[in-house]
């Protein structure tokens, strides 16, 4: 990542699926990277709280849903409104190589970090080379 790269406009994009409740639903931008013992998902989900984030794992599908906190007062008039307010929603397929019982999550400064530990069999194993 180039440190001087300027940030793009909000990378959350509206979902194509029909919402079951009113309001726009957004897909949060995520980074996924892999360590030896776990997979880490980092998602930009500003404007919600730890209590409003719902993470569910069922049938190999990990669903993340964050409810947006309403922000504007009733008497506020829009002057320049460049982004919408809405819930965050994203789904991931998790294979059997993830130990689903040990998935943990933390939320700070608008960023949700999911830790998906791998089952021991999936961790890379170093093989020693014996010289004769």
């Amino acid at each position: 990542m180039n440190a001087t790269e300027t940030i793009e406009k909000t990378t959350a994009r509206p979902m194509k699926a029909e919402p079951t409740h009113s309001g726009q639903v957004y897909m949060p931008a995520v980074d996924i990277f892999e360590r030896a013992d776990e997979l880490t998902i980092v998602a930009d989900m500003p404007g919600t709280t730890g209590n409003d984030i719902n993470i569910q794992f069922e049938n190999g599908l990990l669903t993340v849903h964050g409810r947006a906190t309403p922000r504007r007062g009733v008497d506020e008039r829009c002057v320049l409104c460049e982004y919408g307010l809405g819930d965050f929603h994203r789904t991931f397929e998790i294979g059997e190589l993830i130990d689903s019982g040990r998935i943990t999550a933390e939320y700070a400064d608008g960023v949700l970090t999911l830790h998906l530990p791998k089952v021991p069999a999936a961790r890379p194993r170093k093989i020693e080379v014996r010289a004769s």
């Binding site: 001087t4 940030i7 406009k9 909000t10 404007g47 007062g73 190589l97």
Partner: protein, 164 residues
């Protein structure tokens, strides 16, 4: 025992673990984002000065009431100590840097959508504000700047007299 090249096996395992979107849908999303960036960069009524190439960054939400102007912007993952908010006349400037926390060794970026880097944005406020009564709050990734309007900028009702 199966002798499979280690690197190849690791890639396969990673894609077994997660399946984000079919390639065609991803391509469409990329095209959509490209068009969005291109089209949304112009055509705004308020004079906007941006120091970044491309669309304005970060996206702003400016509202006003009778006695204050509120500016909100979403900046997840930014260290509030690195945020700089300043008011000059009726111009508001916001700048800072979103740092990538994960540059450690031993990690593979499998998928990357979030962007990092420095940002700077200046915008002309719709009203003169009292510079001594400006507060900025960063909670849960949302920066909220509340600027109280200057007395002279508040609307004053003028009674209409009719002459019969």
């Amino acid at each position: 025992m199966n002798l499979v090249p280690w690197k190849g096996k690791k890639r396969e395992a990673a894609s077994d673990l997660l399946d984000l979107a079919a390639p065609a849908a991803r391509m469409r999303n990329e095209m959509e984002r490209l068009f969005e960036r291109f089209l949304n960069g112009t055509g705004l009524d308020w004079p906007i000065e941006s120091f970044a190439f491309g669309p304005e960054v970060p996206a702003l939400d400016i509202t006003e009431t009778d006695d204050q102007v509120v500016v909100r912007t979403e900046l997840p993952g930014v260290d509030p100590k690195e945020l700089e908010v300043s008011v000059t006349g009726d111009m508001l400037s916001i700048s800072g840097e979103k740092k990538s926390q994960m540059e450690k060794k031993g990690e593979n970026f499998y998928h990357s959508e979030r962007r990092f880097g420095m940002f700077r944005r200046s915008v002309r406020l719709p009203s003169h504000v009292d510079r001594d009564r400006v507060t900025a709050d960063y909670t849960n990734g949302v920066l909220t700047i509340t600027l109280k309007k200057h007395e002279s900028a508040k609307a004053k009702k003028v009674p209409v007299r009719t002459s019969e």
